[in-house]
Symmetry: C2
Subunit: 153 residues, 2 copies
DNA sequence: GCCAGAAACTTGAATGTTCAACTAATAATA
DNA sequence: TATTATTAGTTGAACATTCAAGTTTCTGGC
């Protein structure tokens, strides 16, 4: 249990507090807009958005969970609700009997299309209106480096 | 419901996906370490850490909620659990009868001190080992700008 | 000084997420 | 080809968070 670790200096602490602030507040901001405009959580929106871009609008559950940055268990619960609402459908994978495939339905595409403009507007307002083009690219590159670390563990 | 919004271009999408990846994965990574080493969630750790730095190790609940980036309701539930565990105590504010003050107990300080090294080590590993000093400062400044937006709404 | 409205918290119910156990299917090993 | 281990997914219970009241206290007209 790593003792004798260098404490964060003032500059590091500022960075950390800014990051953790964004990390803790952004999901609520996204949820609120989506919930209000489309009765969708941000995680649900992410599932639909990933499926829309996928080959044949279909993905394996475990791949989907990875791409949505969530656990398989979380996805499984959410997928059941989305399926009950008719936004996706699930069926066994023909080549691997263990796997389940999730596919976006036409109705799911409609709901996603209705929700997207408001969502994109909010993302633009919160992120890309606050940063110019170069800053945004810089920020993204650094976030990607952190994300790579997170994905290793 | 803001229609006709400019979609995200490729560079913006990359930035957004990197950010949202960090936002969704970092809390789990922090929770796991703290849960394992100190039976604390990251939010609970945050509450204790803010109190430790506060004047007289005491804060009003609503100020504490703001500083911890959470809702007052969330804090209220968490505070009850922390109080039951003897890590904090709560009492009425002498100058404003509506307010509740939360104070870190000696036992709470102990638990925090035990949890801190492992937590800081993880933060360092995930963030500050991936970024050099200048990059970290840059990243923090940009995150702060986004956080300011989030705090406005 | 009263009264309407706002602010600060708390609470219980509804909802969402994690955790641990479980089933079923495939891959690996002998 | 049996046997075991691993992988994929689901499920129900435990736990955490949100949401919508509800209580109490304070503030600002009047």
């Amino acid at each position: 249990m790593s003792d004798d670790v260098a404490w964060l200096d003032d500059a590091e602490m500022e960075t950390w507090l800014a990051l953790i602030g964004v990390v803790m507040r952004l999901p609520n901001a996204l949820d609120e807009q989506l919930r209000r405009d489309a009765r969708l959580s941000h995680f649900e929106y992410g599932v639909l958005a990933v499926l829309e871009r996928a080959e044949d609008r279909t993905k394996r559950m475990s791949d989907l969970a990875y791409l949505c940055n969530g656990s398989l268990s979380r996805l499984s619960h959410v997928a059941r609700r989305l399926e009950d609402a008719g936004l996706i459908e699930r069926f066994a994978c023909p080549t691997d009997g263990r796997a389940t495939l999730a596919k976006l339905t036409p109705h799911g595409m409609d709901v996603l299309a209705k929700a997207a403009p408001g969502h994109v507007a909010l993302v633009r307002e919160l992120i890309f209106d606050a940063l110019d083009k170069e800053e945004a690219a810089q920020f993204g590159a650094l976030a990607r480096r952190i994300l790579n670390r997170l994905e290793e563990s």
